[in-house]
């Protein structure tokens, strides 16, 4: 018999906010253990939750990006269970009226285009982190991530292969990063995925026994886990190797196997009820359209624009649309300097070089695109040399430069058009290095470069290279 796979994904995405969802602790990743913690998010009595508005903004943004209906009245509920990473022994989430419902994500796979339906998106708080310490044989609890805002995106069981799952997740990640909802970093846990999977005879409309693998944190692990589970389910149905039961399984990516998790008999009894301390959030038309206006063009729309009217190569366009931050800087820069090709080069080559040196990713590009545009313009007008422009660019990463030309003037980065000044320097250089002059005359091209370099250094880079070269040759030829 042929079987088909039925997969639904629950994706958790940490939202890009400064503070936590119900208290004002920092939500920044990477702090020292329990450094971003307060009485509320460490389960002490007496603090009351106040919803972070930005969380609602981003929840709506996510919903709009995923073609969802936004619930104009959305409420919060409490979900109770005991676990050391949950300091209040309840998680505040949305059970009865989630912020978004009925969405859709369009994907492309080798089998062609397909739509994956979104059941709902709800806002909730993250749990803390547990560290198992072998030395003391205890578990250590860190509440830094506790109450960091999350959205959970629940798909319908529309996914039928690992390839589709990956295409869906990649598309989701692109859209959410593009809309700046989240940085979606699997390796930092800001994107995680629960995989619900079952198989059934092809054509059947009855769902098979479903297993769930929680907290998957890489695309490769998800691919392997899905393939493994499909094989296990198929074997079980065809050969009766085991009886399938509805359960939660842990995926061990090192061993390439899934294991049934020991669960309590009381597991799943969450006793949801509305949180009386959190008033309903009502999204009026004004709020709705304010968020709607912030939605970015989709990456593919941008790509088309870049390769079409703006004339970029496919490669350059792909590089830029890999990150919303690059697109934003690019578009601002082009609007000032007028050259898409130049702006793309500066971003893809020069900006990326600085980011790499700082061990930052493209998403973290935080320079003013307008300033970059001014800089590119100064270079194209031969007012600033390329070398000095790079120095100015580096300075832009340290702090905003509103008027680039004024900055260049202040720091002596404006190219000198005073040929007599260049001639003087050239003469001095020639006098100081007769050997190079002789070598050049003897046909060694490299010797000219040495002289050129010395002169340029003397001129602090502020000379048009072409002009300098011409004067240099002219002066040597005079000898």
């Amino acid at each position: 018999m042929k079987y088909e796979t039925v997969i639904g994904l629950e994706v958790h995405v940490e939202l890009a906010t400064k503070s936590k969802i119900f208290c004002s602790c920092s939500a920044e990743f990477g702090a020292e253990q329990n450094d971003h913690v307060c009485p509320a998010c460490s389960g002490m009595p007496g603090m009351l939750p106040i919803v972070n508005k930005r969380v609602v903004d981003l929840g709506m943004t996510a919903g709009m990006m995923l073609n969802c209906d936004i619930n104009r009245v959305t409420t919060f509920d409490k979900k109770s269970y005991y676990y050391p990473d949950l300091p209040n022994a309840y998680q505040t989430t949305q059970w009865f009226s989630p912020i978004c419902v009925n969405g859709r994500v369009d994907i492309e796979t080798s089998k062609g285009p397909k739509s994956i339906r979104i059941k709902q998106i709800h806002m909730e708080e993250d749990a803390g982190k547990l560290v198992h310490d072998d030395w003391s044989d205890t578990t250590l609890v860190d509440f830094n991530r506790t109450s960091v805002p999350l959205i959970e995106i629940v798909s319908q069981p529309d996914i039928s292969s690992a390839e589709e799952a990956i295409a869906y997740l990649e598309r989701l990640r692109d859209l959410l990063r593009f809309a700046k909802v989240s940085d979606c970093r699997w390796e930092q846990g800001s994107m995680r995925c629960d995989v619900n999977l079952s198989i059934r005879p092809e054509g059947s409309d009855v769902l098979g026994v479903r297993t769930e693998m929680k907290n998957m944190n890489s695309l490769s692990a998800i691919t392997r886990a899905i393939k493994y589970e499909v094989a296990r389910h198929t074997r079980a149905l065809e050969k009766g190797t085991e009886e399938l039961v509805q359960e939660t399984r842990r995926w061990d990516d090192n061993e390439g196997k899934s294991y049934a998790m020991r669960t309590k008999e009381t597991a799943g009894d969450y006793r949801y009820f509305p949180d009386p301390n959190i008033m309903p959030v009502v999204i009026d038309d004004e709020w709705f359209s304010r968020i709607e206006k912030t939605l970015p063009e989709l990456p593919e729309v941008k790509r088309e624009k870049y390769t079409g009217e703006m004339g970029l190569s496919e490669y350059d366009a792909d590089q830029l649309v890999s990150s919303r931050a690059l697109c934003d800087v690019f578009e601002d820069a082009v609007s000032v300097c007028g050259s898409a090709k130049e702006a793309a080069n500066w971003i893809i080559t020069d900006c990326m070089q600085v980011l790499n040196k700082k061990k930052m990713t493209a998403d973290m590009l935080d320079i003013n695109g307008t300033s970059l545009g001014q800089l590119i313009k100064l270079v194209s007008e031969d007012k600033v040399s390329r070398g000095n422009a790079k120095r100015i660019l580096a300075a832009m990463f340290e702090g905003e430069i509103a008027d680039v030309e004024a900055y260049a003037k202040e720091y002596g980065f404006i190219v000198s058009n005073d040929t007599s000044a260049i001639e003087n320097i050239v003469k001095e250089a020639i006098a100081a290095d007769p050997k190079s002059v002789a070598d050049f005359k003897a046909g060694k091209e490299k010797a000219l470069m040495a002289l050129f370099g010395k002169c340029m250094k003397q001129l602090k880079g502020n000379a048009n290279p072409q002009v300098l070269r011409e004067i240099l040759i002219a002066e040597i030829n005079k000898i």
Binding site: G43, P45, S80, R271, P276
Partner: protein
């Protein structure tokens, strides 16, 4: 007589707060072994407001565990009693003259009962007009910070200091609604016939107040008010469910009591909670948990939420016609330690009288051993009425 958990220096305008209200210079225990010695890092907005208005917190009064009980009999530190008669510790400090007023968190009627039995004046203001920030949460949808004193003027004075909008409490009403305004004299008061189930001495108190009202020219009319009888069961369901959730954070991990008897996390949780919670808390937790189970949620919990609206709408209709509802606060004039030991659910039984206001958040003034319930935000009118009695 165990009146105080902690006693502080008394200097001038002394206020006692009960041990559900967080202070930073004295422990806050909620009357529980679980929080014995617990020091909060921050203080309640109520405490801040009192201090800012020149009052001194002269001590922390003993409370029943999470204020669920009748009159403080479930305190881990022992009940506040005299010759076997329960007193209610916060009210007792006022009675003894230690404090000009007591500020307590009303959860299930114990503050109202203590005041009624002691012949004091108590006001539970409209829900949302005094910040609950920094109170130990038990049943957040109805619990309210309230004031007990010897006379109406003192209650009014202290309430004026307490009332006000607080950004730290998401249920805090806008400032203009928090202010105690001026009130028109009462014209019409209803007596809730359904609640006239108390003993003769208590009913005599109702009669006495009724007579005074009539003497003051107020029209007093008996109404059936059967809808108010729904409140006891419904509030018990909502309160228990919320309590269950609110005390689940006490698990021996972060602070508070941790059992010495554990080898794994489940034992740590279970033994800490079993050893540190009293019976009433445990049974309320288990009852509340069951009301929220998948099988019961709509049948029990959600039903109680709808009943809350039924009662609330009924009250709106009554208050459209009447300035207040007059009723007993409890069924008797004295309760003993012995009785509450024999019947651990006496608070539940007695909540017949207090649940209507707890479940709807309406203001109540207790005076002359009886209560006057009013429409939401009619606090000033209730106080004015109490002043004439």
């Amino acid at each position: 007589m165990k009146v105080y958990i902690t006693k502080s220096e008394a200097t001038g305008k002394n206020i006692v707060v009960d041990d559900m209200i967080l202070t930073t210079d004295m422990p806050t225990t909620a009357g529980s072994k679980m929080l014995d010695g617990y020091m909060s890092l921050f203080e309640a907005q109520a405490v801040t407001a009192l201090k800012e208005n020149g009052y001194t917190i002269c001590g922390k009064a003993n409370t029943g565990e999470f204020n669920l009980d009748l009159l403080g009999e479930t305190s881990h530190f022992g009940p506040c009693e005299e010759n076997g008669v329960l007193k209610g510790a916060a009210a007792q400090t006022v009675k003894m003259g230690d404090a000009m007023a007591a500020v307590t968190l009303e959860v299930n009627g114990s503050s109202a009962r203590a005041a009624a039995l002691a012949g004091l004046v108590m006001m539970k203001p409209t829900y949302g007009t005094v910040s609950r920030f920094g109170t130990i949460p038990a049943a957040c949808s109805g619990e309210t910070v309230c004031v007990t004193a010897a006379d109406v003027d003192t209650v009014k004075e202290v309430l004026t200091a307490l009332k006000g909008h607080d950004d730290k409490d998401g249920t805090s009403l806008p400032q203009e609604k928090c202010v105690l305004g001026q009130a028109m004299p009462a014209k019409k008061v209803a007596v809730a016939k359904s609640l006239l189930t108390a003993d003769a001495d208590t009913l005599a108190k109702v009669e006495a107040v009724k007579a005074k009202l009539i003497a003051n020219g107020v029209e007093v009319v008996e109404i059936e008010a059967e809808q108010l009888l729904l409140a006891k069961s419904a509030w018990n369901i909502l309160m228990s469910a919320e309590l269950c959730n609110n005390v689940s954070k006490y698990d021996g991990v972060k602070y508070g009591y941790r059992t010495p008897n554990y080898t794994n996390i489940d034992e740590l949780y279970t033994n800490s909670r079993t050893e540190a919670f009293g019976y009433l808390t445990k049974s309320t937790v288990l009852f509340g948990s069951e009301t929220l189970s998948e099988a019961n949620y709509f049948k029990v919990y959600d039903k109680a939420q709808r009943i809350r609206r039924v009662i609330s709408e009924y009250l709106t209709a009554v208050f459209a016609e009447y300035d207040a509802i007059l009723a007993p606060v409890c069924s008797k004039t004295e309760y003993t330690v012995e009785e509450t030991a024999a019947n651990k659910y006496m608070a539940y039984e007695e909540s017949t009288y207090t649940a209507p206001s707890m479940i709807t958040g309406i203001p109540v003034v207790v005076t002359g051993g009886v209560q006057l319930m009013g429409a939401p935000l009619s606090d000033a009118a209730l106080l004015a009425m109490a002043e004439t009695l």
